[in-house]
């Protein structure tokens, strides 16, 4: 199979993109990155002056406004420090740079694997093994009818048996057709708008969601990838269903990109950055949401993809929210009422 671009940049291009140390966003060119940094991270919140570096902003705050800059605005939690002097791509510590590259590489191959799974195309160099998936299976109307009938029977059985009866079809709960959510499971911390309210600030962090960034496209009538159900529309088995036909990631990344000083197994470094990004999305989702509102306009597909999911995937949302801890959790009695009950504040009306 020849090299086809299909609008997917290759990994060298991705790695060579300038990116922002403070928020891990990448840019077309260095100029854009620098203007982003000046606008988002080195802008004085008192007078709007845009400085070139965090140090410059700190001095400015000190001299002009007599205030101390304590952290860099809009930065990821552990990148708010003022001691790292950053200008464009200059000054990024070597280990962070490595982590970033690892992350890009990992995301790239995850996305690539997703695409291969989605299209049924074999990865380059593995054509022999993947023979069957290559063929586009053309179904006759009868076959399609049969498939539909099977599917209906299964759905009916499922309804009758409740969710617990996964006996006949063990992976039902995870069947790709059913959980047809564009949300990849590990992406915790999506800001969901509450029920009944227009989904406004809930814009996912773009750029960190490979499956969304590269929506799988299915050729019409294409055979579903092995491992998924034959009678269901194709969807990459991204959760639960063992992705038997997918090549493992490490064999991909490791030989091609032996990053110097990279941790030996897996990509622990990269995964921490991912975590960090996810966390930042969670913690600062108000900022990020709002900051990225603008991008919502630029990237309507991301938003469009999210909206049906928000509706269809309410259950998933609840699951994710379980991971939060409320400082004050009584939904009936206000803190003031509780305080009022304390002897310290009690008032006994004069009789």
């Amino acid at each position: 199979m020849g090299k086809k671009k299909r609008g997917h940049p290759d990994v060298e291009e991705l790695i060579s993109r300038p990116w922002c140390y403070y928020c891990e966003r990448d840019f077309e060119d260095l100029k854009l990155l620098i203007s982003h940094q000046k606008a988002k991270h080195f802008k004085c919140d008192r007078c709007g002056k845009r400085l070139n570096t965090a140090g410059g902003l700190s001095v400015h705050m000190n001299q002009v406004h007599k205030e101390n800059l304590e952290h860099v605005e809009n930065a990821l939690a552990n990148r708010q420090g003022l001691d790292t002097e950053i200008f464009g791509m200059e000054g990024i510590p070597e280990d962070i740079l490595q982590q970033h590259n690892q992350r890009i590489i990992q995301n790239y191959y995850t996305a690539q694997a997703e695409r291969h799974a989605a299209t049924g195309n074999p990865p380059p160099g593995a054509s022999g093994v993947q023979g069957p998936t290559k063929k586009i299976k053309v179904e006759t109307p009868d076959e399609i009818k049969k498939r539909l009938a099977e599917h209906r029977a299964r759905v009916a059985a499922q309804k009758a048996g409740g969710t617990g009866s996964a006996g006949a079809t063990p992976a039902d709960g995870q069947s790709p057709g059913q959980s047809a959510s564009p949300f990849p499971p590990p992406q915790a911390g999506y800001p969901y708008p509450p029920t009944g309210v227009a989904a406004v600030p809930g814009v996912p962090v773009p750029g960190y969601t490979p499956p969304q960034a590269y929506p799988p496209t299915y050729p019409p009538g294409a055979a579903p990838p092995p491992g998924a159900f034959n009678n269901l529309p194709a969807r990459p088995p991204n959760n639960g269903v063992p992705a038997s036909n997918l090549p493992q990631r490490p064999p991909y990344g490791a030989p091609f990109y032996p990053a110097p000083g990279a941790p030996p197994q897996g990509y622990p470094g990269a995964s921490t950055v991912d975590e960090l990004v996810a966390n930042a999305g969670r913690q600062g989702d108000d900022i990020d949401q709002m900051i990225r509102m603008a991008e919502a306009g630029i990237k309507p597909p991301a938003k469009a993809a999210e909206e049906p999911a928000a509706a269809a995937d309410k259950k998933g949302k609840k699951d994710k929210e379980k991971n939060t801890r409320m400082v004050y959790a009584d939904t009936e009695v206000s803190p003031e009422e509780k305080m009022a009950r304390l002897p310290r504040y009690a008032f006994v009306p004069p009789v």
Binding site: G48, N279, I287, R325
Partner: protein, 357 residues
């Protein structure tokens, strides 16, 4: 300390602050009500050298004061107390007059300068509507739940209650009903809310604030969320409403990760620009542009939870009441010695929104 745009009040309340209110005329005068049974009057003094806020006077009540607001002028205030009473407070001679008495502590009091009405909300699930000119009579309106927050716009009154109930009353209607009561001695049979809504937020409402433009209001809940809604009851207006998460922190992984969600204790709209401030249990104050749906600022963390915020009438100052927040599982609570009040002088365009995009 060098001249700074943010300064701390020298003599803060001795216990937790419950509310902050700026005067209707002077932009430098504000009141703080406290659980230590006092209401504190402060005056901001600005000079080229130094900005300070000085305590002018304290007004002692017989019980903790849960809310305070200014009346028609800079020398008149109304207080809501744990002693079930709504009081008028003359700031010049410290005279207190009881306007009415509820059957439970009074949680909120607001004054509508446009309609000259004082409205109080009490945990006995009633509203009392008073006219300062005829304090002898007041309307009593039964509510379907305990009120937790109350706010007035030029023509509307928003009451947020338990069970996510939100009632919006039309203030001129209340004013007319009160006039009828004063003339005939009988209260009009049933005073209906202008609108009844369910809160957009799933959890207990914490604060309500109305847009100075009379277009809508914002509510906040104990679960780190703020909703912005519009009064106008058309599908177009209603589809504009939205809510967002805020005042949250990522918990360290050793505590199991996830988010720590703080209550959003107070909201205040900027009187000039129509942007608003939210104050949370995480000790931060954020400024939001309701039109552009963007956060404009988040100020550096204060030492404790924030109980109250208010903008001065010219929008130049933001007063912030800081005290420990009451959290789930607290057996005991005391804001003693940990309460402080900060005043932030806002830059020219600091609270100005960019407008919707």
């Amino acid at each position: 300390m060098a001249p700074s745009t943010q300064f701390e009040v020298a003599q803060p309340p001795k216990d937790a602050a419950s509310a902050i209110s700026f005067a209707p005329e002077s932009p430098t005068r504000f009141l703080v009500s406290s659980w230590d049974k006092n209401v504190y009057l402060y005056e901001i003094a600005t000079s080229d050298e130094e900005h300070t806020a000085n305590l002018v006077q304290t007004y002692t009540h017989q019980a903790p004061v849960l809310d305070v607001c200014f009346g028609a002028n800079d020398n008149e205030a109304y207080t809501a107390g744990m002693d079930w009473t709504v009081r008028r407070l003359d700031l010049t001679n410290s005279t207190q007059t009881v306007l009415s008495k509820h059957a439970a502590p009074v949680r909120c009091v607001v004054y509508s300068p446009q309609q000259s009405l004082v409205v109080s909300a009490s945990w006995d699930s009633t509203l009392h509507v008073h006219s300062p000119s005829s304090p002898e009579t007041h309307l009593t309106i039964a509510l379907p739940g305990k009120p937790h927050a109350l706010a007035a716009s030029p023509t509307k009154l928003v009451v947020a209650m338990t069970a996510r109930l939100v009632h919006i009353y039309d203030l001129p209607t209340l004013s007319k009903a009160l006039a009828t009561l004063a003339q005939t001695g009988t209260q009009p049979a049933d005073i209906k809310p202008w609108q009844q809504r369910e809160s957009s937020l799933k959890f207990l409402t914490r604060a309500v604030s109305c847009m100075p433009s009379d277009a809508g209001y914002a509510t906040s809940s104990i679960e780190g969320r703020v909703a912005v809604e519009w009064f106008e009851d058309t599908p177009e207006s209603q589809s504009r409403k939205y809510a967002f998460k805020c005042h949250r922190q990522t918990a360290p992984d050793e505590e199991g990760g996830g988010d720590v969600v703080y209550p959003v204790n107070a909201l205040a709209f900027h009187p000039v620009y129509g942007t608003f401030a939210s104050a949370g249990g995480d000790g931060t104050v954020a400024l939001w542009d309701a039109e552009a749906k963007r956060r404009m600022r988040q100020y550096q963390r204060f030492p404790n939870s924030i109980a109250a915020v208010d903008f001065s009438r010219d929008g130049k100052f933001l007063a912030i009441g800081v005290c420990p927040g009451f959290e789930t599982g607290m057996e005991d609570y005391s804001g003693q010695g940990q309460t402080s009040v900060f005043v932030r002088e806002l830059g020219e365009t600091e609270a100005k929104g960019k407008g919707s995009k």
